[in-house]
């Protein structure tokens, strides 16, 4: 099961390594991780998405996160009402014969073309995981050349 965890931390060097270390020490792969400053520049906000089969181990990880001196709060959004979004940039083929088809597809989704040159276009989209997945599935037929994702950010 995928868990979305938000961690408020002191904005200091080494904090990311401490947080990441807790996951890696237990053999957990972090699916995505987004970090940025908050309104208070001394504090950073991390959204971590992690795949965990064993709830108990995840419970441990959360407790261990809380134990880190630089960690201020830990919130598990898994069973909580929350809003989450991800931004993606997709490079797809934009040849003359597919142009109309792509544009019509884009208009049905949450996406827009933000750049194009020659027969390549870059599509930008912001959405929840379901919307992002739908868009990516639909874009597959154009041949996805490159994909960059921010990873999820969440807030409750």
């Amino acid at each position: 099961m995928r868990h979305t965890i938000a961690v408020l931390v002191d904005n200091k060097f080494g904090v990311l390594a401490r947080v990441a270390g807790l996951f890696s020490a237990r053999g957990y792969n972090i699916a995505s991780l987004a970090v940025s400053e908050t309104l208070d520049p001394a504090v950073s906000y991390m959204t971590i998405v992690v795949e965990a089969e064993d709830e108990r181990v995840l419970e441990q990880v959360k407790k261990q996160l809380n134990k880190l001196i630089d960690v201020i709060t830990v919130t598990d959004f898994t069973k909580k009402e929350h809003v989450e979004r991800e931004l993606i940039l997709v490079k797809v083929s934009y040849s003359t014969k597919e142009k109309a088809k792509l544009e019509s597809l884009i208009s049905k989704h949450i996406a827009k073309i933000v750049y194009h040159k020659g027969d390549t276009a870059i599509v930008e989209a912001v959405g929840d995981q379901h919307q992002i997945k739908q868009l990516l599935d639909a874009l597959e037929q154009f041949g996805i050349k490159e994909l960059a994702r921010t990873g999820r950010i969440a807030i409750a």
Binding site: D10, A17, G21, R56, E59, Q64, N66, K67, I69, I72
Partner: protein, 554 residues
């Protein structure tokens, strides 16, 4: 003041009276100030010895132990000692030199990423990038090391920062929004716990090292006597409750007493205090104390429900929580029937050994106990020596037993004894060692001699790495792969350092040798040539339920 001066001034303000350490290139500015300082400095012979000595000092006194080493190899030599303190929640501050700030990351001479290396084995660590932060960091380090669930904190200081000048400002208060340990138990949880205790027919108190850390031994004794419950102790908990008390069942777990293990397996209520249900204690988890409800008191929320499901978790400092609990409990429990069963186990499965023939290690430890009347501080190495020391010496007081629990570090005992003796100069300090372990940090004998730190080392010399040999005998068909040791002459070795060496090969000479060693005003090695293939029994094979013990009368 320079960074080096700020460091020493800060250490003084934290009440540090001794530093264990070793100089080197990247700590020269600090050592130059140590030259003029009135803080005692113990020059070890290997940095690992410094870390273990600071650890032993801390365990014996309850104060924060301090060790100091240079960058690179100096710092990496501290690593085992830091990990050891981390596993056993020992307050310690390790200070390391680092290459100059502008060289960090440059593969400079004697550079190692020490904050990176020690991140998973410290409670917290710091790389000081600005001398203005140094005083605050030292203040925080001591606060973090000694509060909540204690642990080691490392401060890595680049040598240029040690030389930089700034105004010394000592922060009176420590402010960290991410660190606020819960020290009092939740009143609702305390009430629930008290109710469970009043309903229990077969309660047992399972006491760990947390009792010693929080000095909750009086409260523990009061609780045990009030509810008339038997007390079992983890290895880290030995001394938390008097081993001589009628309610004590001694140590539980892999090499615990059979009656301790039977008692916890059959209890209907486990009151766990400052213990963490380690695998050496629980054995096979799904078979562990299946009919027991569990109250778990611990300062560390992450220790609760980690291995065993807990009915009533109480996060807080053991001393406070037991105090709160004592106020809630009114009527004493009736455990007479329960003790009838326990006493039957005590009778049927006593802790015992077959005497005769060569010197039995158990006998040596019994004699050490009698000769010291149980008043010594005992440190141990790791392996058979350690388990016999747990089983056959009765620890009356907290901080009288010092051993590497979680990490199981061979070579811990001698430097830890050294640190304990520095902290408690009026106590007799004995390292119960094996012939294997003692050679892992034997160089620290020189530190003892040079600094007139008189410790006694009782080597249980069987010519084997005994515990591993025991496993090979029992589970690997007697195939003693790399466990036979060729040893030096420990008497001559001791003498070459300036210590006194005594060899004992006959049982009838054991006591006289101990008495002689205790009377000599010097560090003494007693080389006991013991029965080579003596085993530690009882024993729970790895992965078994803890009442499935083998050996002895279990």
């Amino acid at each position: 003041m320079t960074g080096a001066q700020i460091l020493l001034e800060s250490l003084k303000r934290e009440g540090v009276d001794v530093i264990f350490g070793y100089p080197g290139g990247q700590v020269l500015p600090i050592f130059d100030k140590i030259y003029d300082s009135d803080i005692r400095f113990i020059l070890v012979r290997h940095e690992q010895g410094a870390a273990h000595a600071a650890d032993g000092y801390s365990r014996a006194t309850g104060k924060v132990g301090v060790c100091l080493a240079t960058s690179g190899p100096g710092a990496t030599n501290l690593v085992t000692g830091i990990a050891n303190a981390y596993m056993d929640s020992i307050p310690m501050v390790a200070i390391t030199g680092q290459v100059k700030s502008f060289l960090i990351g440059n593969d400079a001479f004697q550079e190692a990423d020490v904050t990176g290396i020690t991140r998973p084995i410290t409670k917290h660590n710091y790389l000081v990038k600005d001398v203005k932060e140094l005083a605050r960091i030292v203040r925080e380090a001591f606060y973090i090391a000694s509060t909540g669930r204690p642990g080691p904190v490392l401060i890595d200081i680049p040598s240029d920062v040690q030389m930089h000048d700034t105004e010394f400002i000592w922060p009176e208060e420590v402010v960290m929004r991410g660190y606020k340990p819960t020290i009092f138990g939740h009143p609702g949880q305390i009430k629930k716990a008290a109710k469970l205790i009043s309903e229990a027919k077969k309660p047992i108190i399972y006491a760990g090292g947390g009792i010693i850390t929080s000095a909750a031994h009086q409260e523990l004794k009061e609780l045990a006597e009030k509810i008339k419950a038997p007390v079992v102790m983890t290895m880290m908990g030995l001394g938390a409750f008097p081993g001589t008390h009628e309610l004590s069942l001694g140590m539980l777990g892999m090499h615990g007493t059979a009656y301790a293990n039977h008692a916890i397996m059959n209890a209907d209520l486990i009151i766990a205090v400052g213990a963490r249900f380690d695998d050496r204690v629980t054995g096979r988890l799904d078979a562990f104390a299946r009919n027991a409800k569990v109250i778990h008191i611990d300062i560390d929320p992450a220790s609760i429900s980690k291995n065993v499901n807990v009915d009533i978790p109480i996060v807080g400092d053991a001393k406070n929580v037991l105090g709160q609990l004592l106020q809630e409990i009114s009527a004493p429990s009736d455990t007479e029937e329960w003790f009838k069963t326990i006493n039957a186990w005590r009778k049927k499965h006593p802790l015992t050994y077959k005497d005769g023939g060569k010197i039995k290690p158990q006998y040596v430890i019994e004699q050490l106990y009698e000769a010291t009347k149980g008043d010594a501080i005992i440190t141990t190495e790791v392996g058979q020596n350690q388990m016999w020391a747990c089983q056959w010496y009765k620890y009356k007081d907290p901080r009288s037993f010092i051993s590497s629990g979680g990490l199981g570090t061979m070579g811990f005992g001698l430097p830890a004894a050294m640190g304990a003796k520095v902290g408690c100069p009026d106590k007799t300090v004995i390292d119960i060692a094996g012939d294997g372990s003692i050679q892992m940090n034997i160089q620290e004998v020189m530190t003892c001699i040079a600094n007139k730190i008189n410790v006694k080392v009782a080597i249980l010399n069987n010519g084997y790495l005994g515990m591993v040999r025991q496993w090979q005998e029992l589970f690997y068909k007697h195939r003693y792969s790399q466990t036979t040791l060729h040893n030096p002459d420990f008497v001559k070795l001791a003498e070459s350092y300036g210590a006194t060496g005594i060899r004992v090969t006959r049982k009838e000479d054991v006591r006289a040798a101990i008495d002689k060693a205790l009377a000599i005003d010097n560090t003494v090695f007693i080389d006991f040539h013991i029965e080579p293939e003596e085993n530690v029994f009882p024993m729970v094979p790895a992965g078994e339920a803890i009442d499935k013990m083998i050996g002895g009368l279990a």
